[in-house]
């Protein structure tokens, strides 16, 4: 996983006076799923569009497997598969026709097996306009991977998909990664990023504020683990109980919630206390800090670490 497939160096993109991307650098390695996270306007789509050769960078250097997307667009199109945020297919094109059309331009045989894999076989004679938004996104993904590109750029691939389609798509992404495809995934869905990506970069106002594995990023936050406890007689619903390593103690109607820096001793102390008070445990939940919480923390502080 050490071979660098995508290299972005001091990349900058400006629209009139607005700096959309401000000298960012990162690398993506072979077989890696790399997440680009950030609020709207953070610069994710500008970065992807320059990598796709749709826009010219205003500074820095981009490289995909030794190809400069701006200078060598003809070499680029067989190296990358792209699922755009807006699907970009003619409304009248039929599903099977679209597969044939794009495969022909990539010089490969149509991949009807992908239509079956993504549950589109029944719709192969339907026009694009007749598909649901989930089916349209699945078709866009099928077309993006049909020519087996070594690099896949996905912009919000699961937006609007139901749970089953989402799971299927995650499975396909994992399979592609296992087969050696390098994937950049731009998403607003933190759970998806946490589940699917090997590393993520969080962009804010055109700059990368943090980069690393989801675990590394969540570990650099406040680091508080949420422990929620529900008991039969609510003995924890008292404001004067104290437990080791607990920083915050909240109560809701059913659960007592503790934020702890070290959940092991906290849970042990809680169980001892419940037993000593003659109460009975109904439910205990331990939730480590999520990427979403860390993301919200970063974006709410404007990227200050």
């Amino acid at each position: 996983m050490n071979e660098i497939v995508i290299s972005v160096r001091d990349f900058r993109k400006v629209y009139d006076d607005f700096v959309a991307v401000d000298s960012i650098s990162f690398e993506v390695h072979r077989d890696e799923i790399f997440g680009l996270l950030g609020p709207n306007g953070a610069g994710k789509t500008s970065t992807l569009e320059c990598l796709e050769g749709l826009r010219r960078p205003d500074g820095g250097r981009l490289d995909i497997l030794g190809v400069d997307p701006t200078r060598e667009p003809r070499k680029l199109h067989n190296l990358i598969g792209v699922q755009l945020q807006t699907s970009g297919l003619p409304a009248d094109i039929r599903v099977a026709e679209a597969m044939k059309f794009f495969c022909a331009y990539h010089g490969v045989a149509p991949r009807y097996d992908l239509l079956e894999r993504l549950a589109l076989t029944e719709k192969q004679h339907s026009q694009y306009r007749e598909l649901s938004s989930g089916q349209q996104r699945r078709l866009a993904l099928a077309l993006a991977v049909a020519h087996k590109p070594p690099v896949l750029l996905l912009d919000e691939p699961t937006a609007g998909l139901d749970v089953a389609s989402r799971t299927e798509l995650h499975g396909l992404m994992q399979e592609l990664k296992d087969q050696g495809t390098t994937i950049i995934l731009a998403t607003h869905d933190m759970a998806e990023a946490e589940k699917m990506t090997d590393r993520v970069a969080i962009l804010l106002r055109g700059k990368i504020v943090t980069i690393g594995t989801p675990r590394e990023i969540t570990a650099t936050g406040s680091g508080l683990t949420k422990v929620s406890v529900r008991t039969e007689h609510s003995v924890l619903h008292k404001s004067d109980v104290n437990f080791p390593t607990v920083h915050q103690h909240l109560l809701d109607e059913e659960y007592a919630i503790f934020y702890s820096t070290d959940p092991g001793p906290t849970v042990a102390a809680l169980l001892d206390y419940i037993g000593a008070q003659g109460d009975k445990l109904i439910d205990l939940r331990v939730e480590r800090p999520s990427l979403e919480e860390r993301f919200l923390e970063i974006t709410s502080t404007g990227g200050a670490q």
Partner: protein, 270 residues
């Protein structure tokens, strides 16, 4: 070649599947032709002399200048060209294929008109069918290229309508379709000299019907050819993949260069 053939087949079928294109390619020109054949030949029996070329030119304008630009703009606005670019579809194919398929549809309608005008409406048949066919093809190519150019320079569908009507309406009034150019006042004839359909009518009448014309028929045919090639070259040069990406080659007003052959034509004596 396979990719080009696939693309062509898809675009051709779109011309039949899409109700707007079906209207502009077939229903509108054939409906208008039938109405003119029934009504106009009774109001003005002299119309039969120019009916066939006039309806061929009308059908060509309907599908190319009125029908072609809108879908080009809509495809650009919908991000279809972005997706084409990423997948390696060349700009020339994006423009050439809709033009070619529209020409193909137009030629089908032109054949229907040419073969039915005489038996159904007593339209005068061409004296030279070979010249008639060549000028029909030339008119379709030129109008198709102008339609593509309008689609390329228009920022939205409203601009498309404006540009298309700027050519279509004067062409209907001053292009020799409804009445021969020699019946128009002298003062408006210079305007006709700038209209591709007027040039097409003069080429038809002079070369396919051996009639006297106001403008030189061969000059008109050459002007049509040169302006068609120029319009297509300008359309490729000014083509923009993406409505969100405002950086483009050349200014849209460069499209007016397509008038150069017509201006030269006036200087060399029509």
């Amino acid at each position: 070649m396979t990719a080009f053939a696939n693309h062509f087949a898809f675009e051709f079928k779109t011309g039949l599947r899409n109700s707007n294109l079906l209207l502009m390619n077939y229903l509108f020109p054939l409906g208008f032709y039938a109405a003119m054949g029934v009504v106009m030949t009774q109001i003005n029996p002299l119309f039969t002399a120019t009916m066939t070329p006039a309806m061929v030119v009308f059908a060509t304008m309907a599908s190319t200048i009125l029908g072609l630009p809108g879908p080009l703009v809509e495809s650009r606005e919908a991000g279809i060209y972005r997706s084409y670019k990423i997948n390696g579809v060349p700009a020339a194919s994006i423009l050439a294929i809709p033009v070619l398929t529209t020409i193909f549809h137009t030629l089908i309608v032109c054949v229907i008109i040419s073969l039915t005008a005489t038996p159904f409406f007593k339209g005068v048949a061409p004296a030279n069918w070979g010249a008639f066919a060549l000028i029909t093809l030339l008119t379709a190519i030129t109008c198709g290229a102008i339609g593509a150019l309008i689609g390329v320079i228009s920022n939205n569908s409203r601009a498309t309508v404006l540009w298309s009507q700027l050519i279509f309406l004067p062409s209907m009034l001053l292009g020799g379709l409804m009445m021969p150019l020699d019946m128009l006042p002298q003062s408006v004839r210079p305007v006709s000299a700038f209209l591709p359909p007027a040039r097409a009518m003069e080429a038809f009448l002079g070369l396919a019907y051996n009639q006297e014309t106001v403008m030189g028929p061969m000059t008109s045919a050459i002007i049509l050819l040169v302006s068609g090639l120029l319009a297509f070259a300008l359309a490729i040069y000014l083509f923009n993949w993406d409505s969100r990406n405002k950086t483009r080659r050349g200014h849209p007003l460069m499209a007016l260069l397509v008038l150069v052959p017509y201006i030269v034509g006036i200087f060399i004596g029509w």
